[in-house]
């Protein structure tokens, strides 16, 4: 087991290097210039832009820039934002808590919807409940988040005037009021993401449970005279959840990556909105750092999913 984990980690190193090379090259080849606004402003002499480019190393050949980036990364320096003129890790750390709270709670909401609904629907297939749940799930994941987001804003903020649609990190209040204000402004982004994710997961849980519920050992358990409740929770759900756990583990990097569109719509200052604004302003070090962290997380959670999978299902062996 330990050997397996070590081997997987060693394999991860070249793949991460490969990912970083690809990211770096794509970003370097992509058109655009972080100082594009300087170009259209007649008050700023072009030399300033050239100087800035030179001082930030933008004029060096691409391989030199890549190795400079790589050695800095190995030393733990994540780079320096062209646009904010501060270190990238500070930018990311500033955004991380909000992303974790918003996206994290949306995933919790999604699980809270998907598990009971999915299991219940699978135990009574083609019942009225199953049909309604199915329809809603289809509606849920066929509506993109940017659409539901705007719909929510129009209905809850503008028509009903209940919820604010601009997310503010700092709220001038203490105690319960502070908490309530935060909850109020988080409801819409969390629900938009949670409902979308929950709809997809509901379908997945349902089919996973349906796969298991037909197996012979479930029939055996029932014929033993076990109450239906025990059959479902002990025998069916436990086994059916193995693929679900993998899926959720693989979703975890998304939690860190934020939800770009939703964060943009509700002005949530998370990692996703950091990434999109960095892309729009060609702030390469930030794009590079965020995407690279993302790549690391994907690799790590893949490994974690494999390990958990084996732990849940002893039939799987590591070789």
């Amino acid at each position: 087991m330990t050997q397996y984990v070590i081997r997987r980690l060693l394999i991860a190193v070249p793949s991460l290097l490969g990912i970083s090379v690809i990211l770096f090259t794509v970003l370097a080849l992509a058109p655009g210039d972080p100082f594009e606004e300087l170009a259209t402003n007649p008050a700023i002499p072009p030399e300033v832009r050239l100087q800035l480019r030179a001082s930030l190393g933008l004029d060096d050949p691409i391989h030199i820039r890549y190795f400079a980036w790589l050695t800095a990364m190995l030393r733990g320096e994540w780079g320096y934002s062209f646009v904010s003129r501060i270190d990238v890790d500070r930018l990311i750390l500033q955004r991380l808590p909000i992303t974790l709270i918003i996206i994290g709670s949306s995933q919790v909401v999604a699980l809270l919807i998907a598990l009971p609904v999915g299991v219940l629907a699978a135990t009574r297939p083609y019942s009225l409940f199953d049909k309604i749940a199915n329809t809603l799930a289809f509606v849920g994941f066929s509506l993109p988040t940017f659409f539901t987001g705007l719909l929510f804003i129009l209905f809850f903020s503008i028509y009903l005037d209940w919820l604010p649609f601009v997310y503010r990190t700092q709220i001038d209040a203490t105690g319960w009021r502070w908490f309530w204000e935060h909850v109020k402004q988080s409801i819409m982004p969390v629900l938009v993401l949670g409902l979308f994710q929950g709809a997809a997961w509901t379908r997945f849980v349902r089919s996973a449970v349906l796969d298991v519920i037909r197996l012979d050992y479930v029939t055996t358990a029932r014929s033993k005279g076990l109450p239906e409740r025990t059959v479902i929770t002990r025998h069916v759900v436990r086994n059916a959840l193995i693929p679900v756990v993998t899926l959720v583990a693989l979703q975890m990097p998304v939690v860190f990556g934020g939800a770009i569109v939703t964060e943009q719509i509700f002005r949530v200052p998370g990692i996703g909105s950091l990434l999109i604004s960095a892309i729009l302003s060609n702030d390469t070090p930030v794009i590079m750092a965020v995407t690279f962290v993302f790549a690391c997380l994907v690799v790590f959670f893949n490994l974690l999913a494999d390990v958990i999978y084996g732990w849940l299902d002893p039939r799987i062996s590591y070789r």
């Binding site: 594009e36 170009a39 008050a43 002499p45 300033v48 100087q51 003129r85 501060i86 700092q170 719509i265």
Partner: protein, 598 residues
Amino acid sequence: MNEQDLWRLMRRVRDGKMSRRAFAHRMAAFGITAPMATQILAFAGVSPASAQSVPAYKPTRAGGGGHLKILYWQASTLLNPHFAVGTTNQDASRVFYEPLAGWAADGTLVPILAAEIPSIENKGLAEDGRSVTWKLKRNVKWHDGQQFSADDVIFNYEYAKNPQIAGTTSGSYREVNVVKLDDFTVRVEFERPTPFWADAFVGAVGMMIPKHLFKDYAGANAREAPANLRPVGTGAYRFASFAPGDMLRGERNPNYHLENRPFFDSMEIKGGGDAVSAARAVLQTGDYDYAWNLQVEDQTLQRLEAAGRGKVNIVEGGSVEFIQLNATDPHREVDGERSHISTQHPAFRDPAVRQAMALLVDRQSIQNFIYGRTGPATPNFLNAPPRFRSPNMKMEFSVERANQILDQAGWARGSDGIRQKDGVRLKFLYQTSINAPRQRTQQIVQQAARRAGIEIELKSVVASVFFSSDVANPDTYGKFYADMQMYTTTMPQADPQRFMNQYTSWEVSQKANSWQGRNIVRWRSDEYDRAYREAEGELDPVKRAALFIRMNDLIVGSNHIIPIVQRPLVSASLNNLRPVLSGWDTTMWLLRDWYRET
């Protein structure tokens, strides 16, 4: 009226025998606009009534105004004015830092850290135009309690022009010399007589950072200064907190150097999102007090305004959306460079074709159906301040006349309906950046041109590419590898000198200057060059304005550029908020005077 009459009138105003208004009326009779009359009076030693430039400030005590919430759809990312790239960062820095003077909406100067605006009669301006002396206010303290003095001003000058720092403000400081006369007086010296003296230390480039906090970071280590993210300035609000790319907060500076200001106890600028929802947050839900730069279709704005909570503010500036007709040949390569300055455009070298093109741009419809209040049609390239606006240019839309002119010039329609002459077909590539109103404008021009036997192929490029300085990319506006292109050029100051260098022959954009030159249309005229050189040294404001009007008429009259619409600044504010805005300075230029009516 000759010069002597003018001087006699001006003396009468100075001696109080004639009112300023009567003077302005007399001038108007001779076709001289009111701002120009004011300028003439200023030259004669009659100071303009500066109170007119800025609306009256009503609150009678500082503070007590609660919290001011401002929404930007583009978030500020840094707070050092000398690093500020783009207006959002300049605006954010301006909350805390102040210049010696700012530009009001009518293009006049308002003193901020200066005790008075230099003029000939207060001996601030040298008669030969080679220096300007600024007297500083004596009661100004930095937010940490230190005294603001001439040393800070000198420090900012040295900081801005230091090439190691690569400050975006450096252009305003490199060619001047600044000396300290005493603790509260500095003199800016110019190599040549300089009519436009109000550049260094004024407006967006003039914000003062404190010497005592930045002096150890005035070199290659400039970016390590802690004060880059924790500004200590002299402004009406002092720093509370900042999250780059998200939110900026300030609180009332209790020791502000002007009494009864500011009105609000605290303020915030929230960034991010999109322009339409920013407009909603002010006009429809009233969650925010002010929303910046609403590049939103006018119809949408009008619908949101109907909610009655807020109003749209439209402030005139110098930005203009215009079409360029390439003077060089974009289809022929010379020394590895297309649109080479040694070539001539095969069709646009014929003035008849250019004139026809100008007749085919239906500016009035573009205003009516696309831009609305946010883009008034204009025949001029140089539109503001009003004293520089030419009365000579006309806009006309007439397909018939265009056809007539082309027929006369010998451009005959071929079998496919496209005109041609000597093997040159009137088929043009028309490029611009991706932006809904621009694509709609392209279509309007394309349709009109088709009716005149001109085929136009449309091309739109992503804005981040189109406006980039990427030397390797053929689609940048600087390279102009197309027959026609369209974009908005901005005018950062109330003086047109820097704005009008876009058509001087030494600014031609080409490979030798990595396509950084500002004359992108590559039009050249000795007469224009001469007028520009003359304006650079002309101290008489009336003659100087006439020179700029002449330059506008030369370039617009050549039809190598076709102005379309002006682009004023559009923002939204709640009905009870009284923001003081200006198209010639940053949005926050007079934040100290903002208040809420109760």
